[in-house]
Each structure stands twice: as C-alpha cells, then as structure tokens.
Symmetry: C2
Subunit: 239 residues, 2 copies
Amino acid sequence: MIYIIGIGPGGTKRMTLEAIEALRASDIIVGYKPYLSYVSEYIKDKETFSTGMTGEIERCKKALELEKAGNIVSVISTGDAGQYGMAGPILELMDEGTEYKVIPGVSAQYSAASELGAPIMHDVATISLSDLLTPYDLIMNRVRLASEGDFVISLYNPRSKSRVHHLEEAISIIRKYRDDNTPVGIVKNSGRDDTKITLTTIDSIDYEKIDMMTIVIVGNSKSYIKNDIMITPRGYENK
Amino acid sequence: MIYIIGIGPGGTKRMTLEAIEALRASDIIVGYKPYLSYVSEYIKDKETFSTGMTGEIERCKKALELEKAGNIVSVISTGDAGQYGMAGPILELMDEGTEYKVIPGVSAQYSAASELGAPIMHDVATISLSDLLTPYDLIMNRVRLASEGDFVISLYNPRSKSRVHHLEEAISIIRKYRDDNTPVGIVKNSGRDDTKITLTTIDSIDYEKIDMMTIVIVGNSKSYIKNDIMITPRGYENK
C-alpha cells in the first residue's frame, strides 16, 4: 500500500485527520527532508527515506520499491499532493494493480488566501512560474490569457535565485489588462510559524522579498483591500 | 471572535485539526443545515443557526450579529471557505476591528482530483458555471481562454435543474481546442460515503448524471488515463 499524502502548508494544524491516520498506519515515510520535520510528531518510531529538493523521481522510485517489498509507505508533499506535488510522478511510474490512495491536503494557495482574507473567492487561474518542466512561452501565454479573462491569478514558484525575472515578466503582462491599483497578496511560508504577509498593489511589488516559498495572488478587476484584508467579491455584478 | 471554516468536502476525515479546534472553541455554529450534520460529532453541545441553500447573506449577518453580542462564532463552508464559500461575504460585511480567522480546508477540486488520480498536477483554471452572481458571457469567455491556454479546467456548479445547458455549452467551447479523447473526470459527492467517480472522454460525457454536487475536471492536452487513473503529467515536455 502506498499513501500519497498532502500534509498541508507545513504547520501540523492544517493537516487532515486522514493524513495523520495514514502516517500512523505506515511503516516507512518518504519525503523531502525538511517536510519530514513538519510531521515529526506522527512518525517518531518510523523509518524514513529522504533526498534533496530535486530528487523527486528518486523518491518516487524508492517509495514504489519499498511498497513492492511489502511495506506500507507514505510519500509526503506539502500543500496538496495533486497540485505540483508527488501524486503525478508516483502514479505515472506505478505498476498496474499497486494499491494506492491519494490523500488531499490544504493547498498552498488556499492557505495563503486564508491569511490574506478572501482573495480567491471567484474563478482563479493557478500557474507555476517555474520553467524547469514547462516551456517558458507556454507559461507566459497562460498568464496573458488568465489576465484577459479577468481571473484571479495565483502564482506558484514565483521567483528563485536562478529565475529572477519570470515574476516581473508575468506582472508586466498582467498590468496590460489590470489597473495599477489592483490588489496583490504575497504570502511567504504560509501556515508556518514564520509566515510573512504583504498586501500591496500591482504597481508596487517588492520583488526582492519574493522567493520559492512564496505564493503571489493577483486580484481580479473587482478585488479590493479593506482594513488590511484582501477581498474578491463573490458576486461579479450587483444583483 | 468569528471563525470562517472550510470543513473539507464533507467526510470528517478530510477536516483539519485547526478546523476541529475552532469548532470546539465556539459557542455557536452557523451553516447550511446539511453541512452542520457533517461536523455533528464536534458540535454536540453547541447552539446552531442554519438557513437554506440561498440564505448565505442571512447567515453572514446573523453570524456577525452573534459575534457582536460576545459569542465565539464558527461559520462553516464545505471544501475551502475561501473559494466560492463564506469567507468572501463575511469579510465584505464585517465591521473594522472584528476579530476573525479564516481557516482553510481541503477544497472540492483537490478532493475530487485525489479520487481520480492526479488530474490537476499542472496549471489549472477553476471556473464556476453558475451565472447567479456572474454574467454568463464572462463565464464562457473564461472557459474559452482557459481552453486556448491548455489549462486543466476544473468546473464547479456544473449543472442544476434550472441550468441544464451551461455545461454542454462549456464543453462545446473546450472541444474546439482539445482532442475528442481528452480525459474528463467527474466526481459526485467527493469525500463522502456515497462518492461516485466517472472517468470518460470529452466526446462521451453523460450530462444527465451531473448535478450541483459534482466537480468536472477536464484534462489538458497531455492528460491521459492509465489503469483507470487520470493523470496530467507534471512535466510538459520530456527533459
């Protein structure tokens, strides 16, 4: 049996009962090392296997191997396992007939949204700005189309040391369709002890403060900030 | 204090510890009646206030009134409270200085995705087909732009008794951009005891089976079905 678990954004309070039960039922926990520490209280007596950040495929193969050898294995992702997480690679590599269960979690975008107020109340386009596995032009085309459609835009992996200009490029595209005072919510380390929340507007983003642990949520044309809360109205026009 | 809680898709197993703690700490629980039953084990001795499905604004006002009177109030939504849930209306109506906390939950789309495999592994456009609060043309324009951008498309509120043709119209737009064999995952009552999962292709959808309790996930051009599992690859091109 292999459990593919979304543990939520990091703090154990945002884990589900189902995730905790699966961890407790497992023989071996596989995950990126810092993520194992987030669930440490539930896996004290368990064997673990971890690799570095880019070792996803190695972790998947090891997890499937351990399962084949008769172990109950949990593979953990932060946020939801099915959005940019481990569910895809595991299921892609898995042999027919392997017993598995994907256990959904609170995704980084909804966790970040809850800390900003209610910025994702309406239709949203969720886009990763990492071009490690996606052509750059496709990413920017999606940003353009999402802007044209007045979607709330939720950006994952907005900025890394080797990818400093993607976010600025994406924002410059969005600005062709949105006012300068469009609200932008920036949340670093959502759901953790050191969460950092910034509310700003699309013309005033401090790019230097944004990294891979940050979610950037750009409002739609109706979004506004009131009393330091970012809100996208549920109703698009007044009834 | 007012807690605005996403209780997850319905089964208590997909609730977070944070949501359970907030319910336990509350004096009064406000929610749509069937949703109160999902959390009944945590609110046995609590006062409750409920209205019918379309009584959201009445519930919001009542919750804020109860909070002003000195109660700790929890307002519950299924899925995540911040996506088409109660977080928006509450925060829109709330007076400055009211103590509040939005508690994120496992959203319906990620719960449904977990039951299908890993259909939302890549960029996704999340769109509600209800035109109760959104102009019909804007909804269909978003469907068109999401199709053009090769987003995975996750459809909420796909079909109701008074809205039987929206989904067919949306699918006919998507089909202009995607192959006939594009995978479509349909999940009714995700996360509950009576979950019903259908895997099909975009040219073979049985519309009669789809209702308001259903999430429809249309794959992107790379999505596929393998051993009854719907997968959208994480990598867009082979590295």
